[in-house]
């Protein structure tokens, strides 16, 4: 068991190292950040000073070595544009993205599952067909377009909620979030809905398929024969069974919510990590881009590592196979 974990750890380290090579070199061969930074009034001497201050006059391998040395000590470099540690900037913007992704996930579950349940129970009704048709739009319409349409409808025409920005922050159990104030909730509604659309469609389809399958199964027939009410059969027995794949997929999709938030955050001027990343890419703020990607890589490697270890504890066959290989 210990050998297995050590081996997995080493593999994870190797993956992180390989990714750092790909990310660092990939980001550093594109474009020239100096001309994005210096004022047009700067003369040749000023430009050269800026290049050497940023360390861009050094050979790329030396730059990479310095990056590795810093990274080993938890320093992923300073932002070219803000002059602050890139890691600090990202962590500063993380809560906004997390609350957005979290709200979107809640919306996906609260809206998607009941609609999917209905569509699964009454597959032939007009409403069900309407729900399924709408879910196709959820899959296929581009996020940025839907986002603008949502703004035009709910913010400009109806004036129910604000168009952009993050609202007032509230504090609850020591956590600062815009979810704890009315103003904050009114601000987060549209971006969360926009981000959730794809996931709502996914939840509808997963739930519907599960319900359709379960309704024909023997345990449902037995429950009926036993005289249970339809309500109890669906809400207790069917739901319990179909929730397993829905919860699993939705959990996995949380990661992609964070990833997809880039577009939504830009449209709704939401001050999260995605917005930070997009701005950093446009302005070629290399340390921020590299740090962001490295954090994501580390995140995924860690999750996979934990899952692998959990599997090996739960299922001895995984361990045995690994030793055989």
């Amino acid at each position: 068991m210990t050998v297995f974990i050590i081996r997995r750890l080493l593999q994870a380290l190797l993956v992180v190292f390989m990714m750092s090579v790909i990310v660092f070199f990939g980001v550093n061969i594109v474009g020239d950040p100096v001309y994005m930074l210096v004022s047009p009034d700067a003369d040749q001497a000023d430009i050269e000073a800026a290049i050497s201050r940023l360390g861009l006059d050094r050979p790329i391998l030396e730059q990479y070595w310095l990056f590795l040395k810093g990274a080993a000590q938890g320093d992923l470099g300073d932002s070219f544009i803000f002059g602050e540690p890139a890691l600090k900037l990202i962590l500063h913007h993380m809560p906004a993205t997390m609350e957005l992704a979290f709200s979107a996930l809640i919306l996906a579950v609260v809206i998607g599952i009941p609609l999917g349940l209905y569509a699964g129970l009454y597959p032939d009704s007009r409403i069900s067909k309407g729900i399924m048709a709408a879910s196709i739009f959820g899959f296929s319409l581009p996020t940025f377009w839907v986002g603008l349409m949502l703004i035009m409808l709910f913010a400009v025409e109806l004036q129910w909620v604000p168009a952009t920005g993050r609202g007032d922050l509230g504090s609850f159990l020591g956590i600062q979030s815009s979810l704890f104030t009315l103003d904050g909730l009114s601000h987060i509604f549209l971006p969360a809905l926009n981000l959730a659309l794809l996931k709502i469609s996914l939840a509808i389809r997963l739930t519907r398929a599960g319900v359709r399958e379960a309704m024909g199964l023997d345990y449902v027939k037995y429950a009926r024969a036993k005289g249970l009410s339809t309500r109890r059969i669906i809400l207790v027995h069917v739901m319990k069974n179909i929730m397993i794949p829905v919860v699993t997929v939705m959990g996995l999709e949380f990661g992609s919510l964070i990833g997809f938030s880039v577009v939504t955050e830009t449209i709704f001027a939401w001050p999260g990590m995605g917005k930070l990343l997009i701005d950093a890419i446009l302005q070629l703020d290399r340390p921020v881009v590299v740090a962001y990607l490295m954090i994501i890589v580390l995140f995924f490697v860690l999750i996979n590592l934990i899952v692998d270890i959990l599997y090996s504890i739960l299922d001895p066959r995984v361990r045995l196979q690994d030793q055989g290989a």
Partner: protein, 526 residues
């Protein structure tokens, strides 16, 4: 041009009216681009400078047309060839109640060029200047050679208090050091979200109308417009040209427009016998035709500036015949916009020996200037029509400017024919002349953005003489002559001046600025 001046005149009348009615009113502005810091010396960047104007005064202010006017200095004049004397305003207080005097100026000028981690500092403007305190309200700036642009240079430096001189950029962003003498005081700053300022009731100049101003960065153009329509914000900067027509038809919205100091122009390779992106018909090598002034002239004549302005820019630009729009210091009265004349262009090409034309690629950015990629395409079509078969390649600015400046294997400009823009930060003609037209000279700091490497000794001499001439009338004349000669030689081809658009809810208008700044003090009620 007349249209814009008239609008400004009206706006001024409104300003005079608006100032009288100071009361508790909040203004929210949606910004197209966000400042990167509240430290006024951290990053010499348009949005940062515009924000710092609210909190920090300069010794010399630039008005909406970038003309110099007294700020924290009441007067500035040369006392001898190498010394400028600045008399400081007395009785001015910083936001923390401390008095403003010469010590603040001395320490400001020491800090401005020297902020740790600064991506682009203010050393450019303070190079070779020594600051000496004479008494509490007199300061001397000494230079090694006569220096006429002292006022323009000093007008770019925000003055901080002595307390701020020992502070870090973080202290400024936290607000503890963001203490100036300006019309607004720091209230709060959340990067990516908002900057809130409150009125400085003890301001030495005209007290602002607005008691509180919130700036919110909304970088996506359509979202910014939607936020205005939804009433989230009272005014936005950088209205996308595609939305201008729709907004004009909206009775609840008021547009304010004004020409900027930014000229959009074409640089042509004038230093390589074989230019990498110029080929003979069919793709063979050719002696660089862009070296021939007749070819350059023909290209200029083949471009319909009216078509660019009317079609591509939807009317929101002014055709350009020189480096700055009329009204700026150093502009020539003798230059007109080059008339569109495709037949004349063909004749000139034939005279130069290119009756059958040649092949060329035009390069340009696609996310830097208003409609840049569309302009590049339009120009390529116009040139193709007179026989110069022009291919188009556009790219993001993060890639473009590096390659355009030193992308070739030898570290020289990579492209042959490019579209670029230049905003004259100093608000007068020496800025583009020095950087774009003068022969590339690394040691002297001339021609730093001369990506076509045009070189003409007579023009150089005129520019250098202008930069030594302290007498305003003489310098104006020298700059105008240098501009005339550069345009005569087709050193570059100016196409148009950008016009900026702000949109506000009904009842508000903005005094458009040539430097493209968005200032709360320029928002007036009707």
């Amino acid at each position: 041009m007349r249209k814009f001046t008239a609008a400004t005149a009206v706006a001024f009348g409104i300003l005079a009216y608006g100032v009288g009615a100071a009361s508790a009113e909040k203004l929210t502005i949606g910004l197209a681009s966000e400042p990167t810091s509240l430290d006024p010396h951290f990053h010499n960047l348009g949005p940062n400078n515009a924000m710092s104007v609210h909190i920090f005064d300069r010794l010399i202010a630039q008005d909406e047309k970038q003309r110099l006017s007294p700020g924290l200095a009441v007067s500035w004049e040369p006392v001898d060839e190498l010394t400028w004397e600045f008399k400081l305003r007395e009785g001015v207080k910083f936001h923390d109640g401390s008095d403003f005097n010469a010590d603040d100026v001395v320490c400001t000028m020491a800090r401005a060029p020297d902020v740790p981690n600064s991506p682009s500092g203010y050393g450019t403007y303070l190079k070779g200047k020594e600051v000496i305190k004479i008494d509490d309200y007199t300061v001397h700036f000494k230079t090694a050679a006569p220096y006429p642009l002292m006022g323009n240079d000093i007008s770019t430096i925000p003055v901080i208090s002595e307390l701020g001189c020992d502070s870090t950029t973080e202290d400024f962003n936290a607000g503890t050091a963001a203490i100036g003498t300006g019309p607004f005081k720091f209230q709060s700053y959340t990067p990516g979200e908002s900057i809130v300022l409150v009125r400085n009731d003890e301001y030495w100049g005209d007290t602002p109308v607005w008691s509180e101003v919130e700036f919110r960065p909304i970088t996506s153009g359509p979202s910014r417009v939607a936020s205005l329509l939804a009433g989230d914000v009272d005014m936005i900067s950088g209205v996308p040209t595609t939305d201008i027509t729709t907004l004009k038809g909206n009775d609840d919205i008021q547009l304010s427009q004004g020409v900027s100091n930014r000229v959009i122009y074409l640089h042509m390779d004038q230093f390589r016998e074989n230019s990498p992106f110029v080929k003979a018909n069919g793709g063979g090598d050719i002696k660089n035709p862009l070296m021939d002034v007749r070819v350059r002239k023909a290209i200029s004549m083949a471009i319909s500036r009216d078509a660019i302005v009317d079609r591509v820019m939807e009317g929101v630009a002014l055709p350009a015949g020189q480096l700055l729009p009329e009204g700026f210091f150093g502009v020539s009265d003798n230059l007109d916009v080059v008339a569109y004349d495709p037949e004349g262009a063909k004749a000139l090409m034939a005279e130069a020996g290119y009756a059958d034309g040649f092949e060329m690629t035009i390069h340009g950015p696609n996310d830097r200037y208003i409609n840049d990629a569309k302009i590049v395409e339009a120009i390529a079509q116009m040139l193709t029509r007179v026989g110069i078969k022009t291919a188009v390649e556009t790219m993001p600015r993060s890639v473009y400017f590096g390659r355009a400046s030193k992308g070739s294997p030898e570290g020289l400009p990579e492209f042959s024919f490019i579209l670029v823009g230049w905003g004259a930060g100093s608000g007068e003609a020496s800025s583009p002349l020095k950087s774009l037209i003068h022969t590339y000279d690394k040691d002297a700091g001339f021609g730093s953005s001369n990506r076509g490497r045009h070189s003409d000794s007579e023009t150089d001499a005129l520019i250098e003489e202008a930069l030594r001439t302290v007498d305003d009338a003489k310098r104006q004349d020298l700059l105008a002559r240098a501009t005339e000669r550069a345009i005569e030689n087709v050193a570059i081809i100016p196409t148009h001046f950008q016009v900026n658009t702000w949109a506000a809810k009904k009842g508000l208008s903005y005094i458009a600025r040539t430097d493209e700044y968005t200032l709360a003090t320029g928002v007036v009620k009707e």
